[in-house]
């Protein structure tokens, strides 16, 4: 699972380094004037004399040019300190940077975070977290995502086989998850084949993320043949069809696993 984040974190690090090195914008006015129309008179006003009442502003001085439309600009980011663990963002005391709208609506108003003011920075400087440990901010999201997937484990129809972690690893890769072999725990009883009785039947494997979080992932056996005639036809949305457990002792846990929600329209 570590490999999964390796390249992403590398890309992010280079991006932040580049930002620090190249872009140091001055944001003095930026903070003051935003989300508003900033206008300028097309024709300058006549100068007022000292000690005299100001001259009238005539019609032509009301012709304005819009200098800036701040609300059409990108939502700026603000710094926060988390007060609770938030999925995908971080743990208590972590300093994060999120967009203004998301920060205000999703973090500050519910009380999940506070502003990174000097006072709060001092308060959360030496904070020690005592609670359920988390390996990384996004681990919980990965658990959630993996938990509702149904992986089709494609096996050979002719050659005899016993299910090994590398089979499941390849199937995970086809679904877009890069899982190392040592993170996959197969059921204790070996699953052997080819056996058409096991076609489209379920079992689950346990995936360990960063040697800490574990998640049970639903898998289905699918037999594959190089001979076109022998191939089992593909069932679209196979994960929505009810199925039986290959190993009867896994049945109660399989029932509790969540099913991937339907995205397409019901007809």
């Amino acid at each position: 699972m570590n490999k999964m984040f390796k390249y992403l974190s590398f890309a992010l690090n280079t991006a932040t380094n580049a930002r620090i090195a190249l872009l140091t914008p001055e944001t003095i006015f930026h903070n003051q004037l935003r989300t508003t129309f900033v206008v300028k008179r097309r024709l300058p006003l006549r100068l007022n004399k000292q000690g005299r009442p100001p001259k009238n502003i005539s019609g032509r001085h009301y012709i304005y040019d819009v200098v800036e439309q701040k609300h059409s600009q990108k939502d700026p980011e603000i710094d926060l300190i988390l007060t609770t663990y938030v999925d995908g963002l971080g743990n208590v005391g972590d300093k994060i940077s999120v967009t203004r709208t998301k920060a205000y609506n999703n973090l500050l108003l519910p009380g999940l975070a506070v502003y990174a003011s000097p006072e709060n920075l001092e308060k959360y400087k030496d904070y020690v977290y005592e609670g359920e440990p988390h390996s990384s901010p996004t681990a919980a999201l990965t658990v959630k995502s993996l938990g509702r997937t149904s992986v089709s484990v494609v096996m050979n129809m002719e050659t005899p086989w016993t299910l090994k972690p590398w089979h499941v690893k390849a199937s995970f890769r086809k679904c877009g998850y890069i899982v190392p072999e040592e993170a996959i725990t197969l059921p204790d009883k070996p699953i052997t084949g080819p056996d058409m009785n096991k076609q489209n039947k379920e079992f689950f494997v346990t995936v360990t993320i960063n040697n800490l979080e574990t998640v049970n992932v639903r898998c289905r056996i699918h037999h594959w043949s190089n001979e076109l005639v022998n191939r089992v036809p593909y069932t679209p949305y196979f994960w929505e069809q009810p199925s039986e457990a290959i190993l009867p002792e896994q049945a109660p846990i399989l029932e509790t696993l969540p099913i991937k929600p339907k995205k397409r329209k019901q007809q």
């Binding site: 004037l33 935003r34 989300t35 129309f37 900033v38 097309r42 304005y64 203004r100 502003y115």
Partner: protein, 275 residues
């Protein structure tokens, strides 16, 4: 009146809000707030002010004074129930090239959201602009924003009223957190410094519109004056006069008064009759 004309050198002075009618009786505390609200230059929101006092014309080299005249803004009646954070409606013209100029309004973009006041410990649903949220963020909280911003920038009556409530709450020592003494102490410590700028009288009169202030003053004055019916005044005067002349009827009448009105004797519903 002669002294007044001498003071003003005979020049007629236009009556203002604070020297005619009930306005002249308004306390100094309210006048101070009104000055902060109406006669102070607010922050430039809709224009970029030119820096410096003087500038030189690039072509002619002529030195000219810099005069930053703010863009005239309009405020509808509804804005008093909302928080625009210094924004307003710009009324003007839009002209492209040599075409005829066309009237145009530039309106602030309003949205409904929730603000949280830590001192009042309350979530409030209000209509704001994005600028208000920005100011709340840059001041690290709604209370800090209210307390740091002068009345001319808060502008509408809703935030001014909330500011008064926050100040009053701080003055009373945050009674909303009475059951959490530690938090109460922390909040008082955080916001105590803002109280130094105001006297109790100023807090009492802070954030009212002119009409509201006059109404408040009238109410205060009517509470002070205790109206006694003339009937009672004249009667007591008469009794005293009679007592002074030692007339027996006076003492009798005072007894009668104690026992009650003569009407009560006639009134069949005044007393429970035994049957």
């Amino acid at each position: 009146m002669a002294s007044k004309s001498v003071k003003t050198l005979g020049i007629f002075q236009k009556p203002t809000l604070f020297n005619k009618g009930i306005g002249a009786l308004l306390p100094e505390a309210y006048k101070k707030f009104y000055k902060e609200w109406r006669f102070t230059e607010p922050t430039a929101v809709h224009y970029v002010p030119e820096p410096g006092r003087w500038k030189r014309d690039e072509v002619t080299g002529q030195v000219l004074p810099v005069q930053n005249v703010p863009i005239p803004l309009m405020y509808p009646k509804e804005h008093n129930n909302q928080m625009w954070g210094g924004e307003g409606i710009i009324q003007g013209f839009y002209q492209e090239g040599y075409q005829r100029r066309v009237p145009r309004f530039w309106l602030p973009i309003l949205k409904r959201t929730v603000v949280y006041s830590e001192v009042l410990n309350k979530y409030m649903s209000v209509i704001v602009t994005n600028r208000t949220i920005d100011l709340i963020n840059s001041n690290y909280g709604f209370d800090h924003y209210l307390l740091k911003t002068p009345a001319c920038d808060l502008k509408s009556l809703l935030p001014l009223k909330l500011k008064r409530k926050v100040l009053q709450e701080l003055q009373e020592g945050c009674p909303t957190y009475a059951d959490q003494p530690e938090k109460q102490k922390e909040i008082l410590k955080r916001y105590q410094s803002y109280l130094a700028a105001y006297t109790p009288e100023e807090i009492k009169w802070y954030g009212y519109s002119y009409t509201e202030a006059c109404k408040m003053l009238r109410k205060q004055m009517s509470e002070q004056v205790k109206v006694v019916p003339l009937k009672q005044v004249y009667r007591s005067q008469l009794i005293e006069k009679l007592k002074a002349e030692k007339i027996e009827a006076a003492s009798a009448s005072s007894e009668l008064e104690e026992s009650g009105s003569w009407l009560r004797k006639i009134n069949p519903f005044g007393k429970k009759h035994e049957t």
